[in-house]
Amino acid sequence: MFQFDTLSLVFTSLIVLGVVPNLFYSQGYLSHLKRKGHYLLHYTTFIASMLGVVISANALMFLLFWELMSLTSWQLILTEAKEKRTVDAARFYFLMTHFGFVFLLLFFLIATDGDLEIGFAAMHGIVAKFAYPTLLFFFLVLGFLSKAGAVPLHVWLPYAHPEAPSPVSALMSGVMLKVAIYGMFRFLFDVLYPWPMEWGVLILVIGSLSSLIGVLYALSEHDIKALLANHSIENIGIILMGFGMGMIFESMGLKILSSFAFIAALFHTFNHMSFKSLLFMGAGSVLYQTHTKNIEKYGGLIKAMPVTAMTFLLASVSISALPPTNGFLSEWMIFQSMLGSSHLDNTSLKLAIPFAVFALAMTGGLAIACFVKAYGITFLGLHRSTNAKHAHEVNAWMRTGMLLMAAVIISLMLFTPFYIGWFDKALSSLGHLSVYGRIFPDGIWQMHSVAMHGGVVSPLVLLGALVSVTALLMFAYRALRVKERIHRTWSCGYRTSTRTQYSATGFAGPIRRFFGWLYKPDEHLTKQHIEGYSSKFSDSHYEVHVKPLFETTLYDSVGRAVNWVSYWVYRLAHFEQTRYAAMIFNLMLGVLFSYRIFAHEFSWATLVLEGTVMIISIKILIIGEEQ
C-alpha cells in the first residue's frame, strides 16, 4: 500500500518543507477569501493527496492520489472564480492534467499486467518482458511532463497558476510540479530501468527547450504571477537537464557522473521548491495589498512592505543562480555534470552538449534580467498606482510564512552538504553509486565536481567572504560619517513622477525586440497628435501582448480540428431522425457482410465488392438524391 524508502522520504520532506510555511501564509491569506470552507477542504485534501502520491507503493494508490491531486488543485483554482478568465484557466488546466493522466493510465495498465495492486518492483519484471519499452517511456514522459509543465505541454501553467489563490499557486508551482518529478525518478529508476542513450538525450533536449522558452516568455509577462509560472517552466527545464545528463551518463556507463547529475537535479528540485514558493508568497502579499497582478501598477513597495521585499529579494537572487545562494549551487552542479561530458566517447553527443550548456547559461542570463525587472519594477522606484501608494505590510501570519520559507532557503544554502548527503543516500538506495565522498572529499568546506579535473566551489567560504567584505565596507562608510542630504531625483529639470519612470514593458523592451521573431508580439500604440504634427503628441498609450507560439500553433489548431469533426458528426447523426429504418437496414447489411467475410472466409475481391454495395445502398437509402 504505502512505502517509505529514502526517495519517498526525500520527497515527503520536500512537500513538508514546502507546506509548513504555506500553512501559516494561507492562514493569513484566508481573510481574503469568500468560500473558506471550500478552500480549506480542498487545500487540506490537496496536501494529503500529494503526500499520498509520493508514498504510495502500488499503481492503484498512485493513480488514485494523483487524480485526487488534480481534482483538488482544479477546485482550488476555482476558489475565487469571479471572471471568465479564471474559469477558462481552470478548465484548461484540468484538461491538460487529464490528458497526462490518460498516458499514465496506459503506462500503468501495460506495466502492471492489469493487476494494479502489485508493487513497483514487480512492475519492473513485467516491463522487462514488454516488447516496446520506448512506448512506455513516451507514455511516462507525456504523463509526467504534462503535469510538470515541460515544453510543449507547458502552456497551461501561465494560465492556471496565476488564477489560483496565492498560497495555492505557491503550492502548485513549488510542490505539485515536483511530485511529477518524483514520478520521473520513481518510475524511470524502479520500473523502466535500463535506459537507452536516446531517452536521456530526449529529456535533455526537452529540458533545454523548456528552460529557454520558459524564461523568454517570463520576460514578456506583465502579470507577476504568470511571470513566476513561466519561471517554473524554466526551472523544470533545468531540473530535466540535470536528469537527462544523469540518464545519458548512466546509459554510457559513467555511474559516478550520473549519480552526480541526478543529485544536482534533486538539489535543484528542492531549491526551486523553496524560492518559487517564496516568490509566489511575495507576489501574493503584493497582490493582497494592491489588488492587481499587473506589474505595471506596482512600484516603491519596498518602503511599505519591507519584509516582503527582503524575502523576495533573497528569492530573486537565489532563482537568478547568483552565488552564494542555493540556486547557484545546484546550477553549478548541473554545469559541472555537463562539463563531465568530455568523458563521453560519443563525439556527436559531445558536440551536442555544449548547446545544452549554452541554453543553461543563456537561461541564467535572462533570468537575471527578468528578476531585475520583477524586483525593480515591483519594489523599487516610485509607486505606479494609488493602490501601490497606500499599500502596507501584510499581516503577521503571512509574514511568518514568508520568513519561514526564507529560512528554508537559507538552510538549503548553509547545510548543502547535509542535503546532498541525503540525496546521495536516496540514489544509492535506488542502486546507484554513492558519490558523497567524492563531492566532499575533505570536509564540508569545499564542494568538488566529480568530473575529471572538474571545478570546486566552497559555498560557505564564499558566503563568509561576501558578508564580511560587505560588512567591512559598510563599517568603513559609517566610520567616515558622511553627511547625507535627501533631495528629489534629478531628471533634466522635470519632476520625476509615476509616468516618467521606466515601465516593465520598457525594461524588457530591448530583449523583446531582439527575440521579436519568437514572440511575434501584437503591439497597440495610440497617440493623440497635436494639430497634425506627427512628432508632437499630447499623450500616447503603448501596450504589447505576447501569446505563446505553441498555443497559437499547436493548441488552437487542435481545438479547430475537434470543432470541425464534431460539426460533421453532428450533421451526420441527424439523418437518423428521418431515416432510422434505412440506417438499421444498412447496419444489418454491414454487420452480416462483415461476419460473412471476416468470420467465414476472407477474400479481398468480395471485400471490395461488398464495400461498393454498402456504399451504393447507403447512398440510395440514407442520403437519397438531394432535392
Binding site: R91, L105, D113, Q577, Y595, A599
Partner: protein, 470 residues
Amino acid sequence: MLILLVLPALVMFAVSFSHHRKAKFLLPISSVAILLPIVKLFWLPKPYAIWGNYLVADRLDTYVLLISSLVGIGVTLALLTLDKHVKVSPKAYRRFYRFFAIFWVGLIISILANHMGIYWIGLELATLSTVYMIKTNHTPAAHKEAWNYMIVGAIAISLVLFGIILMYASAKPILGEEAMRFDLLLSHAKEIPSPFLFEMGFAIATVGMFVKMGFFPMNLWLANIERASFYPVAALFSGILESAVIIGFFRFSKIAEQINYAHLYGFVFVYTLLTIFIVAFLIFRAKDFMRLFSLSGVEHMALIALFWVSGGTFAALLHFGAHAFLKPALFLSTGVLESRGKYRIAGALRGYKGKKGELFWVLVSLFLLAIISLPPSPMFFSELYGFAAMVEMAKQSDHMLAMIAAILFLLVLLSVIFYRFVTLYQSMKYEGKEEEKRVYGSELAALVLFALCLLVLLLPSSFAYLRSIV
C-alpha cells in the same frame, strides 16, 4: 417465489384503476414493496430455480434486479413531486403507474429468465409498456417520440428475436427444445454444429440490443425520447430498461465467447469504438441536459459492453452498477436544474437556498464529477479495471500495437467527453446569474438514496461480491 416477486407489481396494477384518493399513496408504497422479495431473493442460495428452469436466479441477475429495484424506488420518490415541476393530471399519474406495473413484470421476467424466449417476451413487454409512459407527457413532441419509439423499439426487439431464433436453430440439433436455455447453451456451446449460423444469430440479436441501447448509428433517438418525456421516464430508461437489455447481451456474449472469441471481440470492439467516437463528438456539441446525459449513458453502456467482452467482468458490473445509480440521479435532478427553463446550463447549480438547496447542489455536482470517473467515484475504479482488462487483451493478441493505439484513441475520446462535462460543470457553477430554485424533499431523498447506494458500491465487501459474480 414468483408470485412474491410479481405480487407488488400486480397490486400496483390493480390499484392504478381505483380513483380513491388513498391510491395516490398506495401506488408508491407498492412500488417500494418490490424491493422486499428481491432482497429476499438476494440472500437465497444461488442458482435458485424460481420457475422450473425458465426463471433461474443466479448471482448476476439478482445483482441486476436489486440495482434496478433500488433505482425504481428512487424514481418513485421523484414521482411524488413530479407535479410540482410539470403539469401532470392524476389520471395520467395513475396510468403511468399502471404501465409501470406491467413494465416491472416484464422486467422481472426478462432479467431472471434462463430462457432466450422468455427473456425476449419480458423485454418486449417492458418495451411496450414504456412506450406508453412516454405518452404521460401531453405534448405533440412526446406523441411523435412515442410513435418513434414504438417503431424503432419494435424493429430492434424483432431483430433480437430473429437472432434468438437463429441461435436456437443452430443449437437445436443437439439440444432440441432445450436449446433456448442459456445455461445449456453455455455448457454445450462448443458442440454447436453450425457455429456460423449461431454467430449470425448473435450478430443480429446484438445489433438489435445495441440499437435499443442507442449505439451507433441510432445515437440520438433515445435522447430525443428522453427529452420529450418526463424526466422520471428518462431515469427509468437509463437506469432499468437498459439493464434488462445489457443483461441479455451479457448472457449471449458469454455463449458467443465459447463459439469464437476473436470474432466476438472484434465485432464488439469495432462497434463500441465507433459508437463512442460518434457519441463523444455529439456530447461535445450537446447543449441541453437531457441529451447530454442520455448520450453519456450510451457512452457508458458501450464501455460496459466493451469491458464485459474484454474479460473485465468485474469492471463491467461495477461500471454498470455505478451508471445505474448515477444516471437516474442526474436525470431526476434535471427536473430541478431546468426549473428555470430548459437549455439553461449556465448558472444551473446556483441559487439554492437553505439546507436542502445546499445538499442538492453538492450532490448534483458530485454526481456530475463522478460520471466522468473522477475519484473516488466507483466509475474511476471500474474504468481502471476495465481498461486493465483491455490492455491485457491487447498484450495477448498478435497485433498489440494496433490495439493499444485503439485503446489510446478510446481514452482520447473519453477525454473529449471529460472536457465537455468539466466545461458544463464550471458553467453551471460559476457562470450565469443566480436564480432562486426550489428543491423538494422527495427528490432530495431520491438523490440521497442513490448517493448511499454508490457509497455501498464502493465498499471492499461489495467489490468482493462483484468479483465473485462471474
